[in-house]
């Protein structure tokens, strides 16, 4: 097994554990309001729409589209070699439910706006247990079709 690229890892807490460890179960989890159904990201103790405190982690579809992206060429960290694609993905589950991520499994030249993508996890062992970084890759039926 080849060594993993260097990644700065998150400080996992009870508030964000569902996000960073949901990948163990293959799930991209966000908080969701039980009262009004709003998906919430980043995590917070009340629903921002209805102010309910009845919020709990739930698996999202893990599917969405690329809202915008950049091909990073700068070597910010030894052990994480450019070029790689940094993107903001908007999930199908709710307009505005988005996150910053990497687009993987595709040549950077083949990434495009509005491209359909799905989550794929990579486990990174850490001192207090693993985290699963949520990356995204183009859906098979559209991979490579971007101009």
């Amino acid at each position: 097994m080849t060594e993993q690229p260097f990644r700065v890892l998150p400080a996992v807490t009870t508030d964000n554990e569902h996000f960073w460890r949901g990948g163990e179960h293959g799930e991209l989890r966000f908080l969701r309001c039980a009262d009004c159904g709003t998906w919430i990201h980043p995590p917070q103790p009340r629903c921002p729409e209805c102010l309910s405190t009845d919020v709990a982690p739930q698996a999202s579809s893990g599917r969405g589209r690329i809202l915008t992206y950049t091909v990073n060429h700068q070597p910010w960290y030894p052990g994480l070699d450019p070029p790689y694609v940094v993107a903001i993905v908007e999930l199908d589950d709710q307009p505005g439910l988005r996150l910053t991520t990497n687009i993987v499994g595709v040549d950077p030249d083949q990434v495009d706006f509005d491209q359909r993508v799905h989550v794929t996890f990579e486990e990174y062992p850490d001192r207090d247990g693993s985290v699963w970084l949520p990356f995204f890759e183009p859906d098979p039926d559209v991979a490579g079709t971007a101009s």
Partner: protein, 409 residues
Amino acid sequence: MRRREVGERRAVISGVGQSQVGRRIYRDPLGLTLDACLAAVEHAGLQLSDIDGLATYPGNMNVPPGFSGVGIAEVHDALRLELDWFAGGLELPGQLGSVANAVAAVATGLCDHALCFRTVWEASAQGDAGRASVTMGGGGGGGYRASSFMQWTLPFGAPSAANWIGMMANLHFHRFGTTREQLAWIALNSRRNAEINPTAIYRTPMSLQDYLDVRMISDPLCLYDCDVPADGSTAVVVSRADAAADLRRPPVRIEAVGTALRGRPSWDQFDDLTTMALRDAAAMMWERTDLRPEQVHVAELYDGFSFITLAWLEALGFCAQGEGGPFVEGGERIAREAAGVPGSVALNTHGGQLSAGRLHGYGFLHEACLQLWGEAGERQVRVDGGAPSVGIAAAGGGPLAAAFLLRTD
């Protein structure tokens, strides 16, 4: 319209000062700060004993290296000031949010003369070790774990605003057809202004081909779209308008301030990523004045990355949203000579942070005041044979933004 009492008109800018500015000058940041502060007080025609307020951004921080290092307490003590009011901190509408704090303090009578400063020594902090040595989470021996906003971006190899702004610029390119050949003119305009600014860091001419040939950082932003880390300190004195009568020069009046953030306070969650908080700060500023963009002669607009300046031009209404590319293309509408010409504005007349050095926001306010006072030397903008009378200084990008509309007429 949210028109309220425009209390900022009770405050003026009475003086500005700047330390030595350069790359890797390896000087104590407090020494740089005191140079700038003393110069600003002298410039205003005040004594240190007149200074009863002190403000700064971001306060004393050790990380990232060179980002600050000088806080309120250091300056307070070094100059033995007797303060009625002071405030330093990071959670503000951008770097000039600290000046907005001072304006509010002066306008409400908490103090009469507030000294505001911003110090950076990012060039010396990098030394010869390069950018990677100061990257968040890098070189920390593996012990660092990201929290707060940084947890959502650092694990994805995106530690820099170059990445976050790169995504915004790319979306602007995609949505509006903006091109690198257009964006280049932010950098080219700054360089031609820096050529005649004796304190600018990069003063050799730059061609469009130079720009297109240089290495990419985070597509579509190339090296020349990124500001240059510098060492230096800038200070401004904010005074109560009715306490400024016997100062050294007619004050620069504060017509309106914009500090709004009406969307989500986040680099990646804000609703319109092509405008970010610039939209809100600019809108608020115009809500507080009868002046219009057509009346502005000089615009000193933040350029941590060139795209931010383009977005400020749109947000402030010098052109419509999405038309920033055509507006700057060719450079004629933003040249020094364009001041006072309908549909034009002299932009970043000192060379911006791209060429004059990353003094982090305060350099734009410093330059706007010098231009309005007619003290900008060889690069002085002329309108009808005299100094310009209306200018904007705006700083910040992403979810951080504040804009100042200034006038001397």
